[in-house]
Amino acid sequence: MTVHAGGEAAAFFRAQFAIDDDVLSELLGAALEHGGDYAELYFEHRESGSIQFEEQRVKNVSGGIVQGLGVRVIAGDAIGYAYTEDLSRERMHQAADTAARISSRGEHTGPIGLQPVDASQFYPVVGPVSEAPAAAKVDLIRSADRAARAYHPSIARVDISLADELKRVLVATSDGRVSGDVQPMVRFNVTCLSEVDGSRQTAVSGGGGRTGMEYFAAQTPESIACEAARQAVLLQSAQEAPAGPMPVVLGPGDAGVLLHEAVGHGLEADFNRKRTSNYTDRVGENVASALCTVVDDGTIPNSRGSINVDDEGDPGRSNTLIERGVLRGYMQDRISARHFKTGSTGNSRRESFRHYPMPRMTNTYMLAGETPPEDVIRAVDRGIYCASFGGGQVNISNGDFVFSVTEGYMIEGGRLTAPIRGVNLIGNGPDVLSKVKLVGTDLRLSDGRWTCGKDGQSVPVGVGMPTVLVSEITVGGTKRIEGI
């Protein structure tokens, strides 16, 4: 991509909707008409498409375009927010006027001069999925379907979806910044049903990122399909999981969900500003085992969680959250950064123009350690190994979390043995991180399939993790095992 994403977005909104610097200044002026401290305009244009494929047939094709403007005005600690899908001058003014009413000081600010903000390009795309011919996309789907069916005779049904999105955003603020971005996204998903003598098991696998058709050269549709088929077939022989506390080895990649849930959310600055996080006032303190260094990095090339600029117009960055067990800082948006007298960390995100921004994660992972992964497993006499995960949830206030394991194994005598099914891990974030005993050399990212929800807003994220041994986590199976 030769054109700068910010410039490209600005040119798009100028050409399509006649939104130029004069319009931006005028709307920012209207938003501060009643004397707010800060105003921000967030323009979004999103084109999306998806193909649903079921039982060897393209069942439905969907597509749509939405555009809109969200206006945020901050007065003291209060936020006024309004949005419109109609980008006519009249409606945009109305939204600015509505948001402006959060302030009632009645002072009028002068005209606002605007300067573009520079940003990097972390997701260059060669062949945008939105522009690829439908037949090429259907070909990808069909090869995945064939691969899944060929994987094992018990694969009785394969459902596949391919979704893509191209989002253009433009952010203008009353402190005189204009930034923009063009954010591609693709998501490929395969669900397989394995059926053996009436015993049915389903499994899901997926991939994608802020990338184009070139993604499927490295991560083939066949490989994604075979992974779903492999898990469904494996579940057929899986046994009941044990219940109770025991040593747990987290496999590389997906287990980053634990990090995301157990510590990530608690390090979002809004919860700490409101003093509702269990990490409030703990910067500089030991909050994890010294083996743990945790990073939130919005700059990983083509990752689902990466951002060139965040949704307040600040450049995406890489931030160390925990360094060798010591809490270094929170993920900030502008409101929280002002409270903590620091700068934004480029973590402000929102679901769409209908939503106000909040501190959110991008790609969150733990750095690799020094133990070969096989030695991490070998260190456990009896416990479980978690290879992949279905999702999780955390109580931010106290760090209690739950997450579900979709592929797991018993560890007996330092070796992986029987696969187990239907198991949840439950624990407390700070407690689990203090019990990290070994960290593997094999950091792996899982950056194509996760979506994070907070306050009803969903944003795409990446996670990552090396193989890690936690000396004890409560496992929520159905079988009581003696002697652990």
């Binding site: 439905n60 094709v61 209060a78 899908e85 959060i102 409101k274 269990n278 239907g422 949840n424 009581r480």
Partner: protein, 423 residues
């Protein structure tokens, strides 16, 4: 399908207005059927030129799909619209911003006033939504309805002796302002729920009887909505496959999905493809009566639509519930607790550990331990596990205290036994 509406919400935190959100929006969704090929598209740009491009694009996209003999509009017969379902309360639309702020403020004050151990709040939010849904199709169906929603919610925190924060929330949501719980009651309930968690601890791993409070029981029931969906039947991804008209559960289990209940959140005169709403018995005294269907899944599996089509304005249709509830029984919650010598009263569940294909169930849970028929100490950080098939069989008591907080409702229930994973 045209959906338009306005939303308003205000959050008050520690006595000050934190956020005010106000907006109006409208989106048009279009489904095109051409020779058995279908597309679903949406647009918010209503200018004539954009509309023309939008329709052309929808037809182009349909050509990419492959013919599917089950993809069609519902067979439509003219019939009398159901009498007024009470979905619209003008009082919701008339409430002033000041009044909304005042209600959120009173809610938070009431939580703080209950006990000095309530030390923090995530804010009290009062919100209103006013919506219009309009649906037209080429078979001649045309219908529209307006609805309102008012809601109030709050989350508060108490400090525990070990420095851990204990938080909980409470909320009320209704189509009518009159039926909404008072801000003071909502604030007080949230505070009470947070306070009773002080001193929460893990318990030993063991199998015990489980009592679910109405909110947690509704959570369980929400899990079941996926298992009774015609879409899960079509995918063979439900443990209820092949269970129609057989006794799969305890005789106490009677579950109904009724889109015609006056004033309820799930009510509507017709579903999202124009099929007239009705009342569907799902479980009748333990017998599974059948799945819920939209037109597509009904045709695909050889059934008739149950009027259960749900779709987002721009998305393809799917199967969903309306007002899905467990028939209350005759026992008070106290009578249910009195039958448990050593067990777990669950008030919260966390996480996603439910496999609808196999019925494996494992979720994080919190609540209170039951000792000798009475609530004793608070419990946290444990899991409850079992098999949904077995849990349905093991439903031992149902309370008289059904609570409506959304489209899925249940009373207090007791399940004979489940595995609690703890220490």
């Amino acid at each position: 399908m045209l959906v338009s509406g306005t939303e308003f919400s205000v959050t008050v935190r520690r006595g000050a207005v934190e956020k005010v959100m106000e907006a109006g929006s409208r989106t048009l969704g279009l489904r095109v059927f051409k020779n058995g090929r279908t597309s679903s598209t949406y647009s918010a740009d209503f200018t004539p030129a954009a509309m023309k491009r939008f329709v052309e694009r929808a037809i182009e996209l349909a050509a990419v799909a492959e013919p599917d003999s089950c993809a069609a509009l519902p067979e439509w017969e003219e019939r009398a619209a159901p009498s007024d379902l009470g979905l619209f309360d003008p009082a919701v639309t008339r409430l002033s911003t000041e009044e909304k702020i005042a209600r959120a403020t009173r809610c938070e004050q009431s939580a703080f006033a209950l006990d000095p151990r309530i030390t923090n709040s995530d804010g009290a939010t009062f919100g209103t939504d006013v919506n219009t849904v309009m649906l037209l199709n080429s078979r001649g169906f045309s219908g529209a309805y307006e609805s309102t929603v008012a809601s109030i919610n709050i989350e508060v925190m108490a400090d525990d002796a070990d420095g851990k924060k204990r938080n909980d929330h409470w909320f009320s949501v209704d189509r009518s302002l009159d039926r909404l719980e008072s801000p003071e009651d909502v604030g007080r309930r949230a505070a009470e729920r947070a306070l009773r968690k002080i001193g929460a601890r893990k318990v030993a791993t063991k199998e015990v009887p489980i009592v679910f409070d109405p909110l947690a029981a509704a959570g369980l029931l929400r899990t079941l909505t996926g298992a009774v969906s015609g879409s899960s039947l079509d995918r063979r991804a439900t443990f209820l496959l092949g269970g129609e008209n057989t006794a799969v559960a305890s005789e106490l289990l009677s579950v109904t999905d009724d889109a015609l209940m006056p004033g309820r959140l799930g009510s509507r005169p017709f579903d999202d493809e124009g099929v007239a709403s009705r009342r569907n018995a799902i479980f009748d005294r333990g017998v599974f009566r059948g799945f819920l269907f939209d037109t597509y899944t009904a045709k695909k599996t050889g059934h008739l639509s149950t009027g259960s089509c749900r779709r987002s304005v721009g998305g393809p249709p799917g199967v969903g519930t309306s007002n899905f509830y467990l028939q209350p029984g005759g026992s008070t919650p106290e009578e249910i607790l009195a039958t448990v010598e050593d067990g777990f009263y669950v008030t919260d569940m966390m996480g996603f550990g439910v496999n609808l294909t196999t019925g494996d169930f494992s979720r994080g849970a919190g609540g209170l331990w039951i000792e000798n028929g009475r609530l004793s100490y608070p419990v946290t950080e444990v899991t409850i596990s079992g098999k949904l098939q077995q849990m349905l069989q093991d439903l031992e008591m149902t309370g008289s205290d059904i609570e409506w907080r959304g489209g899925v409702a249940a009373p207090t229930i007791k399940v004979r036994s489940m595995m609690v994973g703890g220490l």
